[in-house]
């Protein structure tokens, strides 16, 4: 028979664990390479809000999310948002073919070996993470639906409104 204090402790631990788990994690300090071959270090972008959007040419929902995320970048970049669209295509030529079809102004980065995707523990494609001014992952999205872009906008605006 389990004693009452032990039971109370286990129950309390079970209730507290999800709350502790919800604490924002620091984003891994990864370095990506952009289209021109220039390195982009995530740590250097601290002070602003960063939206990391993982996409691939073979990912069907990405065909919709890509232009919408680019539009969000154009709308909010002057307010302090940096969007990095991280491509995970193993064959980079497929990514270039996609980019030709979808004009963009946001930063494109390549992660053909999936090292960055692994660092962020990606569970689905597409996935997006919003990193706050202090470099913590505050929001994570998996998949892309009708409501995702408006969620992105409100979450980014919330983080932009927060001070450092």
């Amino acid at each position: 028979m389990i004693g009452r204090p032990v039971f109370a402790f286990v129950l309390a631990a079970l209730l507290v664990t999800p709350v502790l788990g919800a604490a924002p994690k620091d984003a891994p300090d990864i370095t990506l390479t952009d289209l021109s071959g220039k390195p982009i270090r995530l740590g250097d972008l601290r002070g602003g809000v960063v939206l990391l959007d993982f996409w691939a040419s073979w990912c069907i929902p990405c065909r919709r999310s890509f232009p919408e995320v680019d539009a969000l970048h154009r709308e909010l970049q002057s307010k302090g948002l940096t969007v990095i669209a991280v491509n995970v295509d193993e064959q980079q030529k497929n990514a270039y073919m996609f980019l030709e079809k979808y004009p963009h102004t946001m930063t494109i980065a390549f992660d053909p070996k999936g090292a960055v995707a692994q660092a962020f523990d990606l569970q689905a494609m597409p996935s997006s993470m919003i990193v706050d001014r202090r470099g913590r992952i505050r929001f994570t999205h998996e998949g892309y639906t009708d409501k995702t872009i408006s969620l992105f906008r409100s979450e980014v605006l919330q983080l932009l409104a927060e001070g450092e």
Binding site: F54, A56, S57, W58, C59, V88, D89, E90, Q91, N94, D111, G114, A117, Q118, L122, Q123, A124, M125, S127
Partner: protein
């Protein structure tokens, strides 16, 4: 341990080892090849059409099986 037990154990272990090599975890970002259209059964949906013209050309209507409600039409 008798030799029979040893052989059985060796066979079981090698069978387990062989079956384990057939499994791989594919991460979400590695699904490019699996998502390719050539990986879909009948990706361009031409099988029905191919069967139709083959039947017509060979004069073998019904040779590939006939589906219908019994009216004989297809």
């Amino acid at each position: 341990m008798s030799w029979k037990t040893r052989v059985a154990l060796a066979l079981t272990l090698s069978a387990a080892g062989l079956s384990a090599t057939g499994c791989a975890t594919v991460q979400p970002w590695q699904r490019g090849l699996l998502a390719d259209s050539c990986m879909v059964f009948d990706a361009n949906n031409t099988a029905a059409y191919m069967t139709h013209w083959q039947e017509a050309r060979e004069g073998s209507m019904g040779g590939f099986g006939v589906q219908g409600g019994g009216c004989g039409c297809k």
